[in-house]
Symmetry: C2
Subunit: 420 residues, 2 copies
């Protein structure tokens, strides 16, 4: 963050004027020459400059507990995907009080951040690009157990060659395609064994296992479909591991997962670990997939009402597509939430039928699904909370969480790592 | 940015292995314990870890010159909207060698950043939320000429009361609705004069003028429509200023603009300043609106090819919705570019008919519009550049620009300010 960013704390010279009570509040900004990247925590959500990402700690804790219980019943290890939260404080909750758990990351920036906070067992679950191998080597040399994934002979050769050139051993998992949606090798493709052979052909690399992500679970609309996708994710990955073992390679890690497939899985036979990420926060997509309820959604964007447009039945808020993201994950689902569901700013209670209909960069247009909007409910200067379609996308727009007790009290500020 | 981020520079202990030539390149990463938030600049795009935002400086310069020439012919001042670039280095190019120019901002984080870099005349062009007035006061007290906008009596009263409570004078412009798209007061509404009255009713505030943004210009599909929207933007804002003047208020600033309306305006009579932002970089939406050519687009996302999926005709790259944004601005335009147009990584040349068809968080799926994709053109480990639908949205995902000479040479690294 550049110079010139003001710490927003509890020692401001300015007197806040309350619009509703006409009282002068005792609030607090540091003067311009005191520069700090992270605001200190005000006591109430009403003191936070908007837009801001807020996190309901008790919902996060309940979501974390539910997933830990689920994987325990399934008899597999949990490797949370931290791409959703990118926060060591959130990971500590996911780990039931400890952050010393295996994790999945989507960027090497996450790997560096979590390793710097003491996490040592990391799976980087995006196909490795050769240009990133020096960054992988940095982490390996520093003592991190970082594993990469790949699904081509070219990448396997690059990893083997880089490891040999630098006297390192890079451990890699082969990505398996279990639903034809994105990446990966089919378990029955000869390429699978050929990749295993390249990874095992020298001291520069090692085949550590197989992994998949059944993104197709997001397209399921019934319990039967969901269970079938989860079972296919499991069985195809286990089959890939068995083929590699039959060809003479050790294949210790068999890693599967997505929040929906782990939630709906009936068996994890042959699987060593389950990966899931978005369960930590939940969102409007997950609520319709059935992995959480709307009342479980742990994050929201706090926004201020900045205008009324009675002619068009619109309330204007100061959270636009940068604060909310452009994600339209519910567009093709039974209930389309547009750019987010609008809740009361202080209590977090859902306001029936009110959504963010459209966005510009820093503007959100709030309307009622049917009938006019009740402007009295949204005075200028009041706050709303907006629940996200997709919490990974929305959280990524923010550099911190304002942690709340569910109501209006702020209990902490947690950072997160963005970028690459 | 948290601890643990490695500087990526020119003194790495690791030897890079080139996939194509089998040569060991002399590249360069700092060891883990040397922590710095911004990488030093490598010499070639081929050394940059992907995804990365790259900026073609000569295209930026040409775009900036074209707009300066345009407003000079129209006889108005230019107040660039820095929400697109959020970079002091870019502003210096927009200002023709100086950053000491009036600017428009979309966040108070931008206001603080640019003020810290010496910019003193700033219009914050999102309706002011009362909770942000202490931040405004910080900037005023530090000597910044920061003006706010508003379009309700409530906001005008809050500004007046806050100014009086703190012995400050907050200058405000009334936002005018010139196309019914977002916010603003109709020039013929009695509310306009009533707001002027509240702003003039005490020493806490001052009516500084009127402003509008004709976002409706983005829906135009012909020169005639575009010229009509530009003329309506001008005439309605001038009419609002005249009504305020007739009611006895000074209204010195008459501010209009969007990149399309400034580009297509035939007259700026009665207007004092034009605002435009996205012209700096251009994008695939602007190219179809006719304000730039595709060859004028100055930014792109550099990505690595990380996989091939021959069964589905897909190339997988490591730029997903976080690096590209979810913006689908061309979805309703004559030519839909999906999530971006794919260009050669080194030359920047457009690869005919190839787009990013879909995205996940860190994956982009690249396909050909018709026929199969030529996998030989996209070896694993090679780079592509992806032109954005909407440069404001795409740039916001990144914290720096890798500045290039248009080809593969990196000539600098420029920061940008994100967040609020």
């Amino acid at each position: 963050m550049p110079d010139g960013v003001i710490r927003w704390g509890n020692d401001s010279p300015w007197r806040l004027f309350s619009l509703r009570s006409s009282a002068v509040l005792g609030s607090t900004i540091r003067p311009m020459n005191q520069v700090a990247p992270v605001p200190s925590a005000p006591e109430s959500l009403l003191d936070i400059p908007t837009p801001a990402l807020i996190l309901d700690r008790s919902r996060l804790e309940a979501n974390a507990r539910r997933m830990r219980d689920k994987v325990e019943r399934l008899g597999v290890a949990l490797r949370p995907h931290v791409k959703t939260s990118k926060s060591i404080d959130v990971l500590r909750v996911l780990g039931g009080g400890t952050a010393q758990v295996p994790i999945t990351v989507s960027t090497l920036a996450e790997a560096r951040y979590f390793f710097a906070h003491g996490v040592t067992d990391i799976l980087y679950a995006v196909g490795i690009a050769p240009v990133k191998l020096p960054q992988v080597a940095d982490l390996l040399a520093a003592g991190c157990t970082l594993r990469v994934i790949l699904d081509t002979l070219d990448a396997a050769e690059a990893v083997q060659a880089f490891g040999q050139a630098n006297r390192l051993c890079v451990e890699a998992l082969v990505e398996i395609d279990s639903d034809g949606r994105r990446a990966g090798v089919s378990p029955d493709d000869e390429l699978l064994v050929a990749i295993g052979r390249v990874l095992s052909a020298g001291a520069g690399a090692r085949l550590a296992g197989v992994m998949t992500h059944a993104g197709g679970s997001y397209g399921c609309r019934s319990l039967e479909e969901m269970e079938a996708v989860a079972e296919r994710e499991r069985s195809m990955t286990v089959r890939a591991a068995e083929r590699l073992r039959a060809a003479g390679f050790a294949c210790p890690i068999v890693s599967v997962g997505s929040t929906p497939t782990v939630h709906f899985a009936r068996s994890m036979e042959g699987v060593s670990e389950a990966r899931a990420g978005v369960y930590a926060f939940g969102d409007l997509v997950q609520a319709q997939l059935g992995t959480c309820a709307i009342d479980d959604i742990a994050i929201g964007v706090l926004a201020s009402v900045i205008g009324h447009n009675p002619a068009h039945g619109r309330v204007v808020v100061d959270a636009g597509f940068l604060a909310l993201s452009r994600d339209r994950g519910t567009a093709d689902m039974p209930l389309d939430w547009n750019y987010g569901a609008v809740c009361d700013g202080q209590t977090g209670e859902l306001i029936d039928g009110v959504t963010v209909e459209s966005t510009n960069q820093e503007h959100g247009i709030v309307t009622a699904r049917s009938g006019g909007i009740d402007f009295e409910r949204f005075p200028v200067g009041s706050r709303v909370r907006i629940l996200p379609n997709h919490s990974c996308a929305t959280a990524a727009a923010h550099d911190r969480y304002w942690v709340t007790d569910g109501q209006e009290r702020v209990t902490g500020v947690w950072d997160r790592v963005n970028g690459w």
